[in-house]
C-alpha cells in the first residue's frame, strides 16, 4: 500500500473520534488500516457523502501492492494475491496459497466424481479449525472442446469449489465457459500464441485469466497488453519446471516478479503468481516419488510467493504437509503465541476426573485440548506459564519446573483436596524427568502421561483411575 504511517492515513479520516469503528480515536483506527486489521467500511462517518472523496482516495492509497483476484462465487469463492510485504514478519501474508487439485476430461464419470469428492471433503483439524483445500482444476486432455465442456459441467454439478479451466485451446475454454459462465472460474491460460482469443474470452465472460510464459519479458508484454485491454484480474504463471537448472530458473522468476511487484512498485506485473507443482509428474512416473517431489515443489513455492498452485497427488502424505506448510507461512505472526496460564475445565470434570499438566504455548495447549475434547475426556487442564515454549524445550530450558507447576495451581486457587478424590496430577511424557521434583514440591501423586496427547485415550484405559499404591 502507498501509505505506511497512521498519521498519513489520519489525514483522510473524519477526525472526530466518535468511536463508532470500535476504536477510541481516529488515530487508532488509522493504525488498524495500516496493519490491515480493519477495513475502510468499518468507519461509518467516512461512508457519508461529505467524505466520499477521501474515502475513494484512501481506497486507492490503501490498496495492496499485489492485486487481489477473486476466483469462484459465493461462500466458496477464494481470493488470491493481496500481499504487501516480502517477508511474513514485516506484517503478515494475506490470502493463503489456493490449492487446486486436478481432474481431467478423459476420466470415467465415477472416477471423476470420486476424485472431486475426495478433494472437497479433505479436512485436517488443526488448532481450532479445519485445514482444507480450495479448488478443482479441470484439464483438457482429450483435445475435444465438447468433451471438455461436458466434464466441466459434471464437475460444477458435483462441487461448489471454484474451478480452474485449463486448456491452451480457446475453443475448448469457450465451450467450458459457456457451461460455467456464472461461476467466475479462472481460465488457464493465455500464451504468446493464443492471447488474442483468450483475451476476448476474459472480456466477454468477465473471468480472471492466467498468463503463461517462462520468459519474463513476454509475460510482462502479455500483462501490459491485457491491462491495456481493460482486463485487470490477471494471474501470472512464469513456468514451474520440475528439476535441475530449469527449476532454479523458475525459483528465480518467482522472486523477481514478487520483488518487482512489492519492493519496486512495478504495477504492470503486480499480480498473483501461479505455480504448477503437478509438473513433477512429467519427470517421475512412480507415484510415491512423484508425490514426494510434487510436495517438495509445492513447499518451495508456498514459502516463496506462489499464490495459487495446481497439484495432482491426493495422497495424504502429500496433502497433509502441504496444508500444514501453507498454514505455517500464512499464520499471522502478530497473533500471540501463548494462552493465559491457569487451570481450565475440559468438558465437565468431576472429583474422579484427571488433572493434566501442559504448557501455555498456544500450539501445545490447543493440541492437547482438542485431543481431550474430541475424545470426550472430562478433566482439568493446567496451562503452566512457560513463556510460550513447548513441553520438551521448556523442560530443557528450565521454563517448566516443579515450582512453576505448583505455582500455577496455587494462583488458580485449585485445591486438589477439594477438587479431586485422587490427589494426583498427570505430567506430559516429555516432562517425565520432573516427576520426583514435582512429587517433592507438591506432595501429590505424580503420574507420567504419554509423550503425545493423541495417546491420552489409550493411556487412560490402562492407567485411570490410578490404582491404590
Amino acid at each position: 500500500m502507498k501509505l505506511n504511517s497512521p498519521l498519513q492515513v489520519y489525514k483522510y479520516l473524519p477526525q472526530i473520534n466518535c468511536a463508532e469503528c470500535g476504536e477510541a480515536t481516529c488515530m487508532a483506527f488509522a493504525s488498524h488500516l495500516i496493519d490491515r486489521s480493519k477495513k475502510l467500511d468499518d468507519c461509518p462517518p467516512l461512508l457519508k457523502d461529505e467524505f466520499k472523496k477521501k474515502y475513494m482516495e484512501l481506497q486507492t492509497l490503501l490498496a495492496p501492492e499485489i492485486h487481489e483476484v477473486t476466483i469462484g462465487k459465493g461462500e466458496h469463492a477464494r481470493k488470491i494475491g493481496g500481499d504487501d510485504v516480502l517477508y511474513r514478519h514485516q506484517l503478515t501474508f494475506f490470502n493463503p496459497t489456493a490449492f487446486a487439485y486436478d481432474v481431467w476430461d478423459t476420466m470415467a464419470e465415477t472416477e471423476l466424481v470420486e476424485r472431486i469428492n475426495k478433494i472437497s471433503n479433505f479436512r485436517k483439524f488443526y488448532v481450532g479449525k479445519f485445514l482444507k483445500v480450495d479448488m478443482v482444476a479441470v484439464r483438457c486432455v482429450s483435445g475435444d472442446a465438447l468433451k471438455f465442456a461436458n466434464t466441466v459441467k459434471k464437475v460444477a454439478e458435483t462441487t461448489k469449489l471454484p474451478l480452474v479451466l485449463c486448456s491452451f485451446d480457446p475453443a475448448a475454454l469457450k465451450a467450458a465457459l459457456e457451461v460455467v459462465k456464472d461461476k467466475n472460474p479462472l481460465i488457464y491460460a493465455a500464451t504468446e500464441k493464443n492471447w488474442g482469443e483468450v483475451a476476448e474470452l476474459a472480456l466477454n465472460y468477465k473471468v480472471p485469466v492466467v498468463l503463461f510464459s517462462p520468459d519474463l519479458d513476454k509475460l510482462k508484454s502479455l500483462a501490459l497488453t491485457f491491462r491495456e485491454m481493460g482486463i485487470k484480474d490477471l494471474v501470472l504463471d512464469p513456468g514451474s519446471y520440475p528439476q535441475g537448472v530449469q527449476l532454479k530458473g523458475s525459483f528465480e522468476r518467482f522472486i523477481k516478479l514478487r520483488r518487482a511487484g512489492i519492493k519496486e512498485g512495478q504495477k504492470d506485473i503486480a499480480f498473483p503468481i501461479m505455480a504448477v507443482p503437478l509438473n513433477a509428474w512429467l519427470v517421475y512416473k512412480d507415484a510415491v516419488t512423484a508425490s514426494y517431489w510434487e510436495t517438495v515443489l509445492a513447499s518451495v513455492f508456498t514459502v516463496r510467493y506462489g499464490d495459487i498452485m495446481i497439484l495432482h497427488s491426493l495422497e495424504p502424505y502429500a496433502v497433509l504437509p502441504e496444508v500444514h506448510l501453507r498454514d505455517t507461512i500464512y499464520t499471522d505472526p502478530r497473533t500471540p503465541v501463548k494462552v493465559a496460564p491457569g487451570v481450565n475445565e475440559v468438558g465437565s470434570p468431576a472429583k474422579d476426573s484427571p488433572v493434566i499438566v501442559t504448557t501455555n504455548f498456544a500450539l501445545t495447549y490447543y493440541t492437547v485440548e482438542s485431543d481431550l475434547s474430541s475424545n470426550k475426556i472430562n478433566c482439568y487442564l493446567a496451562a503452566v506459564d512457560t513463556d510460550g515454549i513447548g513441553v520438551e524445550a521448556a523442560v530443557a530450558g528450565g521454563q517448566l519446573t516443579a515450582a512453576k507447576i505448583k505455582d500455577t495451581f496455587q494462583k488458580a486457587g485449585f485445591e486438589f483436596k477439594d477438587k479431586t478424590s485422587h490427589n494426583a496430577l498427570i505430567l506430559p511424557g516429555l516432562a517425565a524427568r520432573l516427576q520426583g521434583d514435582v512429587e517433592d514440591v507438591t506432595g501429590l501423586r505424580v503420574m507420567i502421561g504419554p509423550p503425545d496427547s493423541g495417546r491420552i485415550p489409550g493411556w487412560m484405559e490402562k492407567n485411570w483411575p490410578p490404582k491404590p499404591k
Binding site: K52, K53, M56, T60, Y87, W104, R123, K124, Y126, R139, V141, C166, W195, G196, K206, D217, K218, S221, T225, E228, M229, I231, K232, S240, Q243, G244, V245, L247, K248, F251, I255, R259, A260, E264, Q266, I269, V276, V288, S291, Y292, T295, V296, V303, P316, Y317, L320, P321, L325, D327, T328, V337, T364, T367, S374, A396, G398, D452, G454, R455, P457
Partner: protein, 427 residues
Amino acid sequence: MTKKIKLSELGSLLGGEIQALEGVKIEGDVEIDLGQAGLNPQMAYALGHETAQVAIHLMNISRILGYPVDQMLGATAAPKRLTKLIESRFSAGKIEDWKTPIQEVVLGATSSDGGTRKSTVTLGGETALPYYFDGPMPHRNHITMDVFDMPINMAKAVKSNYEDVINSPAEWAKKVVRDFGADMVTIHLISTDPNIKDTSPAQAAKTVEEVLQAVDVPIVIGGSGNPEKDPAVLEKAAEVAEGERCLLASASLNLDYARIAEAAKKYNHVVLSWTQLEINAQKELNRKLMKQCGVARENILMDPTTAALGYGLDYAYTNMERIRLAGLSGDTELNFPMSSGTTNAWGARESWMVSSPLKEDSDWGPREYRGPIWEIVTGLTLSLAGNDLFMMMHPTAVQVLKEITQTLYGGKETEPVNIDNWISAVI
C-alpha cells in the same frame, strides 16, 4: 447481470446537465461498467444522491476515464481490442542492503591442519538469501546424520534403518556415511544424562573416539541436554578430539557456556550457539561467546531452534529468516551460519502416528510415507530461511532434501523438460 450505462445517461441519472468534463477527451460514447448484480456498493454510493455532489462525482469519473480506468470506481471503459502484443522488457533489481557476508566456518580438520579427517565441510559465506540471484552462495547445504550412544525410542519408520547398528555408535556412524550419504555424523551422548545412565564424561569421550576412528568425515558432538552435566561431558569429549574441529553442541544461556567455549578454544573446535526461538537471546549469546569468552568468529555456528512442521515451524522459520536478513544487512552479532535439528520433525504426531486421533480428520494414510516427508518439508522450509547445516535421521529424507537444496543451489544438471503441454499430460 452486468449493468452498463452510458456517460450521457449518467448525466440524467445525476439529475444535472453535464457541460464539460475538464481535461478529458471522450471518443465515442464511453460505457461504464457497473459490475455484476447491479450497482456495486462504491458506485451506488458514488452515484448516491444530491446534485450538490455532482461536481465531485464527475471529477472522480473524469479520472476514471483516463488510463488506468480501474482505480476508483471499479468501472471499466469499453474494451480496446489490440492486435499486437505491447513490447516490453522486464527487470528486477538486486537488494542493496545485503552488504555483509555470512561468516565462513570450517568443520573438520585434515592432517595438514592438525586433524585426521579426510574432508572438511565449509558453511556460510552467503551474500543473499539462499539460492537468490543477488549474490553467490559459495557453499551448498550439508547434512549431518544422528547417531546415539545408546538405543533410544524412535519412530518405526526411522528405527527400521538402524536396527542392525543400534548398539554400536561406530557401526551406526559408518552406516550413515557409507549407505546414506551423510556429509557429517552427530554423536549424541545422551546416556550421560544423570536421569538416564549417568555415563561418565571419560566413558562418553571413548565413544567419541570410536566414532572418530570409524568415519573420516567431520563430526558433531552432542551432549544429553542436561545443563549441569553437559559442560563436563563436552569438555572431555573436546579434549580427546583435539584438533579435529568438531562442532560442540551446544552452548546455551542456561548452562556454563564459558566452559564449553574454553574447551573449544583450547582444543580447536567450533561452538554451536543454541537459543530458543528468540532473536535477541541469540544475539546475546553470540556476543557473550565472542566478547566475554573470546571465541573467534570463524568458530561460531548458531542453532536458533527447530520446531516441527505444524508445531511451531512458523516461529522457527521466521526467527531464522529474520536472523539471516539481519546478518546480511550488517548485524555482525548474527551473521553466522545456522544449524537445524531437523530430526525434531519426528516429534510431530503426523510423522509417526498410525492414524489421526481425531475422528473428524480425513484419512492420514500410511505413516511410512508421512514421516520422511515431514522431515523433508521441515528442513526445506528452513533451508529457504537461511539454514546451512541439517541434523537429520531418515535416509529418504536426507536424499530428497539433498536433491532439492542442491538443485536450488545450482548443482544439478538434468535433461531439460518441456512443460509447454503439461495440461494434456497423461498422469
